[in-house]
């Protein structure tokens, strides 16, 4: 779903971010784990930090929690300088990748742990714990010990324990990585629902791009300690700013060539394609630059060679490999130049087999030109 404008405060220049991260740098020895990162995160967002392991996303999250302190930069939450506060003073809670449930305490004691230092009355504390258990649908499990719970139940106890403190921001470190695939999908939706119910800003670290796409309002893609692109999932996917983001998120064909203007509008002259590729995007800024035209496999259509393919760009090719994915077919089609193009086709109608000659094509609006 593409968010409506009122759901995207980042597009509103007047909106005040809840969390401001300004030029944060953190080095370990001489290695810059987080290198000049600035981000604005708004109240109620489900924000994801996405990147491969070692890209600095966890270090950034740990700095928000207070387990690491940046060498330079500023972090402000609702106008308060977070960097002056110790972890136990911050209005921020974290859900750990290992869940970090205290093994010597019951579920109720785990959840109540953070409330014990708040000086609540016994009744009030028990009520808050009971409500938190209800929120994560574990009401009957209060007296269990963590080692008597399944992975999914542990995950929900960890979530309840972090949320019961009513933090301004909840930090989630790879919250679903320890769950199996089926449970992960169900939990994704549950997390989104809980986030909407409590209205707390969620900041999640993940290496799983599908997870980030499915859950986030916005994603910050990180590479080598830097944020390389920030945007809503559909922006990141459809309009990547760089080859790195284009190839990191999903799969993409990159047609390298020179951007140029012709009678039919902008084009990329691609030797691999064996001719000009028509591009709908305005490439004035990239005129006569070496670019890569990125085209997602599912934007490319495939047809028998004799069939008319209504596409702005088309070429003949030979099917080299076929992968049957159930919901779709993934083809690797060799162009006359030998270049392999990935094509994903919905699993309806004609199926093609290796060695077959086919025609592939895509529209001028399907590609995005990348110069970085």
């Amino acid at each position: 779903m593409i968010p409506a404008p009122q759901d995207s405060p980042w597009a509103d220049a007047a909106a005040v971010p809840q969390l401001r991260i300004r030029n944060v740098v953190k080095s370990f020895d001489s290695f810059a784990a987080v290198d000049d990162v600035s981000l604005d995160i708004f109240r109620g967002e489900f924000f994801s930090l996405l990147g491969a392991s070692g890209c600095g996303k966890t270090t950034l999250l740990r700095m928000l929690a207070g387990f690491e302190f940046p060498d330079r930069g500023a972090v402000e939450l609702d106008g308060i300088d977070l960097l002056k506060l110790q972890p136990y003073e911050r209005p921020v809670n974290m859900m750990f990748q290992s869940y970090a449930l205290f093994p010597h305490m019951s579920v109720a004691q785990n959840i109540g742990f953070g409330l014990r230092s708040e000086g609540l009355s016994r009744d009030h504390l028990e009520e808050r714990v009971a409500n938190a258990l209800k929120l994560v649908q574990l009401s009957g499990f209060a007296q269990r010990k963590p080692n008597q719970l399944s992975g999914g139940q542990k995950q929900r106890v960890a979530l309840a324990r972090a949320l019961v403190k009513r933090p301004k921001v909840l930090l989630l470190d790879e919250p679903l990585s320890a769950l199996d695939k089926k449970l992960r999908e169900a939990t994704q939706f549950e997390l989104i629902n809980i986030q909407k119910q409590v209205g707390v800003t969620f900041i999640m670290v993940t290496h799983d791009q599908e997870e980030a796409m499915a859950m986030s309002t916005r994603i910050a893609v990180m590479d080598k300690g830097r944020v390389v692109q920030v945007g809503a999932p559909h922006e990141i996917y459809e309009y990547p700013h760089s080859r790195f983001v284009a190839t990191f998120i999903g799969s993409i064909n990159l047609f390298e060539g020179m951007a140029a203007h012709g009678p039919d509008g902008w084009r990329v002259d691609c030797a691999h394609w064996g001719g000009p590729l028509r591009v709908a995007q305005d490439l004035a800024a990239l005129d006569h630059h070496q670019v890569a035209l990125g085209v997602r496999p599912e934007k490319i259509r495939i047809a028998p060679p004799d069939e008319h393919l209504a596409a702005d760009n088309f070429s003949d090719g030979v099917v080299r490999e076929v992968a049957y994915l159930g919901e779709s077919m993934l083809y690797r089609v060799a162009l006359p130049s030998g270049f392999l193009v990935r094509v994903a086709a919905p699993n309806v109608g004609t199926r093609f087999s290796p060695g077959q000659t086919v025609r592939i094509g895509f529209d001028a609006g399907a590609g995005v030109a990348l110069d970085k």
């Binding site: 929690a65 387990f67 972890p87 921020v92 750990f96 970090a100 205290f102 010597h104 953070g114």
Partner: protein, 265 residues
């Protein structure tokens, strides 16, 4: 002969080798004869004699007092050392600190004994303190057993997931609360084994104790050793049997406790 039989035979030989002397003490503690090595007939008279022997009872009390105090002191200090080594990262002087702790384990006992005696003597002539009695023994015992506790605790703390302590801090607990509510309960088994180790090290130490003790503070090993030098007395057999009995009871209880826990969980 099959491999299984060889293993069984070797195990039996090893057990006999380990426990035959102990069994011998138990059997001969019920010997009526005055001579340790000659069996005459069954009797419990040496136990009665033991319970009348003021010197041995007093030494046993002192030994227990020293062991309790020094094991507790060593556990407190050793826990602090072990925790610092496992958790405080690369603080300046860490290598030196950890080396000095480990070195205690390797220094010959007699060297430790002499150096501590010299220290106590010099200190006493300079400041009037410490007078050589139970307190100097306790201090000496704490010195050598702290290293053992530190090693045991450091291992356990290193195995402990740091995120448990981080989670506690994240949930609003200050460092001391984190330590007492989360770290301490989770490393308690290591503290207990460290304490027991320090206790038994203290209980049977002879060399260091002999050097640093005073005239009024003779421990059990010192009494036994002096008695042995005057000729073996069957009373010692009775004493040994009682100690073996107590140790086996403690071991059996802790074994039962672990078995019960496993079933309960």
């Amino acid at each position: 002969m099959s491999a299984g039989k060889i293993v069984k035979g070797m195990s039996a030989l090893a057990l006999i080798f380990l426990y035959a002397p102990i069994l011998w003490i138990v059997v001969y503690s019920f010997n009526e004869s005055q001579l340790v090595t000659v069996w005459s007939r069954f009797s419990t008279k040496w136990y009665a004699a033991l319970l009348q022997d003021e010197q041995i009872l007093r030494a046993a009390r002192i030994s227990l007092e020293v062991a309790l105090l020094s094991a507790t002191g060593a556990t407190v200090l050793g826990t602090m050392v072990g925790y610092a080594l496992a958790r405080f990262g690369r603080f300046p002087g860490r290598t030196l600190f950890s080396g000095l702790v480990i070195a205690i384990l390797a220094i010959p006992e007699i060297i430790m004994a002499i150096s501590m005696l010299l220290l106590f003597v010099a200190l006493e002539s300079a400041t009037g303190w410490p007078h050589r009695d139970v307190q100097t023994i306790v201090m000496a015992h704490i010195t050598f057993s702290t290293a053992f506790v530190a090693v045991v605790v450091q291992t356990r703390v290193s195995e402990l997931d740091v995120s448990l302590e981080e989670a506690a801090a994240d949930l609003g607990a200050r460092p001391l609360r984190v330590f007492f509510l989360v770290t301490l309960p989770l490393i308690a088994p290591a503290l207990l084994s460290g304490w027991l180790l320090a206790f038994s090290l203290s209980l049977d130490d002879l060399v260091i104790t002999s050097f640093v003790s005073g005239p009024s503070s003779t421990t059990l090993p010192m009494v036994v050793f002096s008695k042995v030098r005057l000729g073996l007395n069957p009373e010692i057999n009775a004493l040994g049997t009682l100690i073996i009995l107590i140790v086996s009871l403690v071991a059996a209880l802790s074994l039962l406790r672990t078995m019960f826990r496993r079933r309960g969980a």
